[in-house]
């Protein structure tokens, strides 16, 4: 992650893809709160009958480290039948912005 002189927040993008059900946001946000991650923005839609949610989260000060949180969220997603991934925002900016 590039370091900004203004100590800009390190941002992560959480993507959730799968079948809609009760409690998705509740479960994920509880896990994020437990890891000291603030949710900055959230967007959800249904694409081709598939529930799709993206969250922008502050990962500047993740309790326990970024890698373990990403893994825990992925496993939580698996247990709910959802594909959940957390990665830094840089990859999306690089691929979609000139």
């Amino acid at each position: 992650m590039t370091e900004d002189s203004n100590k800009e927040k390190l941002k992560g993008v959480l993507t959730v893809i799968g079948k809609d059900r009760v409690g998705i946001i509740a479960a994920l946000s509880a896990k994020l709160a437990g890891a000291n991650c603030n949710i900055l923005d959230i967007s959800q839609t249904t694409m081709d009958d598939i529930f799709t949610m993206t969250m922008l989260v502050d990962v500047s000060d993740v309790k326990g480290g970024f890698g373990p949180l990403a893994k825990a969220l992925e496993e939580l997603g698996d247990s709910m039948g959802l594909r959940v991934r957390l990665c830094h925002v840089d990859i999306f900016n690089a691929m979609h912005k000139i």
């Binding site: 590039t2 840089d90 999306f92």
Partner: protein
């Protein structure tokens, strides 16, 4: 939302379903400072230099993988062509190869390239020793990759080296007969070899490079194929634009990884190699892109034109996405590493001669070609000469990575495992007696540099 949801989902889909990955982060390390009169002293310094320079390479790359959510499939090291620091005896050269293997294991990489000699204009005693030692060096190692540059546009083709490499390849195959001649999968003969290539088996750290450097090779045939599925029936302008846009995104991911790895390792960033590198996995094939373009079977008429368009569009799309472009940069067509190519060979639509034509318009050359064990050394040399001539005349890199699998014949398949895949044995036009190419190869000497070399 900060980035449109569909763009986020597109990226996630490219990585998770279309096999988009960073194929390799390769650290180039200069070993010239390690050369001593005594080979054991050289070995000690080589081990120290590699294990200290690349100590954090794998750890840093794994961290980037986790953060960006994109796999970095290979973490590798390329070193100064070993012939430049090697003694003029083959046993000493093998000692260096074993040392490189130990260093590669210590830092946790899967391949180390640079057991190499650049002999396009002539051969020094240590280069002769190293070339002679290649079969034993490969037999005694599993991570070391070897390459020999036998020609350039500027110098012509060293046909003595071409003749010798036919024999070296045969011997390497015979020594590793138990595994189908697998040593040859780590040995490539090049013309116009780039000094900053991050891809194996041809990677080495050229003498014009800094002390240490990070080069990145991207991939993404699956992502390109999925993108062009959306433009079926559209004309070639639309097709080329679609490939360009996808290549841009793929390369931007590579550029991002190159920058991060460089910053975290404190090593300058060299180049991004704009490549389409297939794997044996279904959905990660260059051949399937050609078929998606409308050529029913890879190898059928139209294949070369389709590959030319693909190769050009990948470069045009990638060029703007990267600060410095280098390496091989183009689509790869390794037969055993591409599920669609393997299928095309089995169905009879793809032969060596068609692959040779394809190498005129894409990166590298006859790559991971398995031929019958009965293929003679002079025939292999003649195949190398043909490929080197294409590279020399067209001012491009060409290469031959050919495996004369002992005891195998057309119809058999040789399993190499992992990224190297499995190769169906391909038919070679080899003729007996006066019909052979033996007399051509036995002439020796150099093929003069072509007119294209006189640009000053």
């Amino acid at each position: 939302m900060f980035i449109p949801t569909d763009e986020i989902i597109q990226t996630v889909r490219m990585i998770q379903q279309e096999h988009l990955d960073i194929r390799t982060v390769t650290m180039g390390i200069n070993l010239l400072s390690c050369a001593r009169g005594d080979v054991d002293a050289t070995c000690a310094l080589v081990y120290e230099k590699i294990t200290s320079s690349a100590a954090r390479l794998v750890e840093v790359c794994c961290g980037i993988e986790t953060e960006l959510g994109i796999p970095i499939v290979n973490k590798r090291v390329a070193v100064t062509p070993v012939s430049l620091i090697a003694p003029a005896d083959p046993e000493g050269c093998v000692k260096l190869a074993v040392t490189l293997e130990k260093a590669a294991s210590a830092v946790g990489i899967n391949f180390l390239g640079g057991y190499s000699a650049l002999v396009h204009k002539g051969t020094t005693p240590s280069e002769r020793a190293l070339i002679g030692s290649i079969p034993e060096a490969l037999l005694n190692t599993s991570k070391i990759c070897s390459s020999v540059n036998v020609g350039t546009t500027k110098a012509g083709i060293n046909m003595d080296a071409v003749r010798d490499m036919g024999k070296v390849i045969k011997r390497a195959a015979e020594l590793s007969a138990a595994s189908g001649g697998s040593s040859c999968a780590r040995l490539v003969v090049l013309c116009n070899a780039p000094e900053d290539n991050p891809f194996m088996a041809g990677a080495f750290h050229g003498i014009g490079e800094p002390d240490c450097v990070i080069n990145v090779g991207v991939s993404g045939p699956g992502a390109v194929k999925c993108a062009i599925e959306q433009v079926r029936g559209c004309d070639f302008t639309v097709l080329a634009e679609t490939v360009k846009k996808t290549a841009f995104k793929i390369t931007r991911a590579g550029q991002l990884v190159a920058g991060l790895a460089s910053a975290r390792l404190g090593v300058p960033s060299g180049i991004v190699d704009l490549s389409l590198a297939p794997t044996p996995a279904v959905g990660d094939s260059v051949a399937r892109i050609i078929e998606e373009m409308g050529v029913g079977r890879c190898g059928a008429p139209g294949t070369t034109a389709a590959l030319a368009l693909l190769n050009d569009a990948v470069k045009k799309g990638g060029l703007m996405a990267s600060s410095h472009v280098g390496g091989l940069s183009g689509a790869f067509i390794p037969v055993s590493e591409d599920e669609g190519m393997i299928d095309a060979v089995r169905k009879g639509s793809l032969c060596i001669e068609k692959l040779e034509a394809m190498t005129c318009v894409c990166s590298v050359g006859l790559d991971m070609i398995v031929v019958p064990g009965g293929t003679e050394a002079h025939t292999i040399s003649a195949i190398i000469a043909d490929e080197a001539a294409i590279g020399m005349v067209n001012s491009k890199t060409t290469a031959v990575r050919i495996i004369p699998a002992p005891g195998k014949d057309v119809g058999d398949t040789v399993e190499f495992g992992g990224l190297l895949g499995s190769g169906p044995v391909m038919s070679v036009r080899q003729y007996d007696g006066n019909g052979s190419s033996r007399l051509f190869i036995e002439r020796g000497g150099r093929i003069p540099a072509p007119m294209q070399s006189l640009k000053n």
